[in-house]
């Protein structure tokens, strides 16, 4: 397609808690490299970085009450609007930060469908390097996002290594390519109805009025006096 490329929105979600935080530093570096790579291909990008630490209590309350407050809802809305996500978390006790996971637990299952994601983590020792692929990657697989091939894990010694810069660059370029092809958007748009959704959910394409709802389904026919659809176990899910 010829014309001015549409600007893309990248949202970085940072679960680091210190100030300055090495996790935030890593997220910022990925953001910068992604902007550079997109600029090379002529795609303007806007970036928003969400620090979860100031919202930690609100996020925890939303989990136990089921009712996100306006600040948390705003952040979920920003993630919903993103074309791509940079997920950055510290590793604590051999796993991703509970703050990051709690935030992930609050978002709709269909919020990130086919969105490109860079997976990034920092830790106190190189021995936790597999946490990204063992924990973040399955989480984003569940959310049916598209994590880029290169995972980023940064131990203290990596900050003195030129390899780190090269890996960040590689992950950022992978993100830029995925964004440039529009593959994720095409996947989501071409088969949106194929995924499970919630009426009035936070996903940008969520059904919000009767005009968005498909009334030509087995359940809708059942609602209007028709016969029952086949059992769930016989339906392809």
């Amino acid at each position: 397609m010829v014309g001015i490329p549409r600007p893309v929105t990248i949202v970085a979600v940072n679960a680091g808690v210190s100030d300055p935080s090495t996790t935030r530093l890593l997220a910022d570096r990925v953001v910068q490299k992604a902007i550079d790579a997109l600029r090379e291909s002529g795609t303007p990008a806007t970036v928003r970085t969400i620090d979860l630490a100031p919202l930690a209590a609100d996020i925890a309350r939303a989990l136990v009450s089921g009712l996100p407050d306006p600040e948390v809802r705003a952040v979920i809305g920003q993630v919903a609007q993103a074309d791509a996500v940079i997920a950055a978390t510290p590793v604590y006790k051999a796993g991703i930060s509970g703050l990051f996971k709690t935030f992930a637990d609050l978002i709709d299952n269909d919020l990130l469908i086919a969105k490109p994601v860079v997976l990034a983590a920092t830790g106190g020792s190189a021995r936790h390097a597999m946490v990204v692929d063992d924990q973040l990657r399955p989480l984003f697989a569940f959310l049916r996002a598209i994590p880029v091939p290169t995972s980023l894990y940064v131990a203290p010694e990596d900050w003195g290594s030129a390899d780190l810069g090269r890996r960040i660059d590689r992950a950022a370029r992978e993100l830029a390519v995925l964004l440039g092809t529009g593959a994720g958007r095409q996947i989501a748009e071409s088969n949106w109805e194929g995924y499970q959704h919630q009426f009035g959910g936070n996903a940008t394409a969520a059904a919000r009025s009767f005009a968005d709802v498909d009334f030509d389904t087995d359940l809708m026919r059942l609602a209007t006096g028709g016969g029952s659809p086949p059992p769930a176990r016989e339906r392809g899910r």
Binding site: L67, S209, V213, L222, S228
Partner: protein, 395 residues
């Protein structure tokens, strides 16, 4: 416009005294709340079905029938009756019976239920919950309207030649509300049948339920029951009232902030973000008036006033304040703003009038026992001769 209270029969320790009501006390207290609601002129008392502690109302029809005997004009209803795990045949029978003893002062609200283990306890699969609720209502609808039903569905054994007894009072089934917080299929079913739609309107941000209510309204019109603004909408609400605003906040704060649902949420933040109302009668009136603005003219407003370990004295005071200071003003204000042509919620009287005009309602009299405890192919003296019951045959 109808105003009333709904209760789910939860029992929890009073956070200010540590006192926990016994099941016997809570049941007596629910009866007292129903009676007081009737005395102060509220229109509806609705009880919600649960099948596990710390809830006490496993059998709303039994409790409602008792309250019916002790009251004069209030409508008995549910919040909700489980349309998934109950057999629709038993719902048809139980609620028709209460409708008779209550002389028509009964309607009911159907919901799926969100307590996961209840499904397996009743031999059901929660993954089929939506389909089960839709199919079960389709059957319930027929059982109350056809003397003889043949039925074959997924969720119960087939019926052949079945008559649900007693037939609904005056041949008019209880009005049904469908409750849902996120299921467009439920709103569609309510719209298809021209039934009511109820949004619980608690535990969610302000106007969170508007898209679903709007969907119901549009589809109500689509199926030819009237204009979208004439659809029959009910809303729940969570309130605590005291004469002085600050007293309401101070009294209610421990009941809210120490409740497991709300742990760590400040009452003031919750009040700003959700439809809950805690304050003076005027503050509650002002907030409820925003519901009419946001959802359009609606027909039923129920308040949850006895939850979270509140002692019965406070709950009864809530009912009195609603009856004396809040509802009379709301009735006037809402009526003044109501668009012309918006109907009231159907009642037994209005449904009888709509069906028979000035004629006498049907009073079915069964044909005699033919010796096998059945009345033969035609169950009632006035049954349609074209509809014959064909009973299952045993070989």
């Amino acid at each position: 416009m109808q105003f009333g209270v709904f209760a789910i029969g939860d029992i929890s320790p009073d956070p200010t005294t540590g006192y926990t009501q016994s099941e016997a006390e809570r049941i007596s207290n629910l009866i007292a709340i129903g009676r007081r609601a009737d005395e102060v002129g509220l229109d509806v008392v609705a009880l919600g079905e649960h099948h596990n502690p710390p809830f006490v109302i496993s059998s709303p029809p039994a409790l409602l029938a008792h309250i019916a005997a002790l009251t004069d004009r209030i409508i008995l209803s549910t919040a909700v009756t489980l349309i998934t795990t109950n057999d629709p045949v038993k719902i048809a029978e139980d609620y028709a019976m209460v409708q008779h003893v209550a002389k028509g002062r009964l309607d009911l609200m159907l919901g799926r239920g969100n307590t996961v283990p209840v499904y397996p306890w009743f031999g059901r699969d929660i993954r089929d919950g939506v389909a089960m609720s839709l199919e079960n209502y389709n059957l319930l609808h027929r059982l109350w309207r056809e003397d003889v039903v043949d039925w074959d569905g997924r969720f119960r054994t087939p019926l052949q030649g079945f008559t649900a007894t007693p037939r609904p009072l005056d041949g008019v089934p209880p009005f049904v509300w469908h409750g849902s917080i996120r299921t467009p299929e439920t709103a569609e079913q309510a719209a298809f049948y021209g039934n009511g739609f109820f949004a619980n309107h608690i535990l969610a941000p302000n106007f969170h339920f508007r898209p679903l209510v709007d969907l119901y309204r549009q589809r109500f019109a689509h199926y030819g029951h009237g204009a979208a603004e004439q659809a029959i909408v009910g809303l729940g609400g969570h309130s605590f009232i005291a004469k002085r605003s600050q007293d309401a906040i101070e009294t209610y704060r421990p009941y809210f902030e120490r409740h497991p649902f709300f742990r760590g949420t400040r009452l003031e933040d919750y009040l700003a973000a959700t439809p809950a109302t805690v304050g003076s009668p005027q503050e509650v009136i002002d907030k409820v008036m925003t519901f009419q603005e946001g959802f359009g003219d609606y027909q039923r407003q129920l308040f949850l006033v006895d939850s979270g370990g509140l002692p019965v004295e406070l709950a009864l005071e809530q009912v009195e304040l609603l009856g004396a200071e809040v509802v009379p003003v709301l009735r006037k204000e809402m009526a003044a703003r109501r668009k012309p042509g918006v109907p009231d919620a159907p009642t037994h009287e209005s449904l009888v009038r709509a069906k028979y005009g000035d004629a006498e309602p049907r009073q079915p009299r069964p044909n005699p026992n033919r010796g096998d405890n059945l009345s033969g192919a035609s169950p009632y003296q006035d049954s349609d001769p074209d509809v014959e019951a064909r009973f299952p045959v045993a070989f």
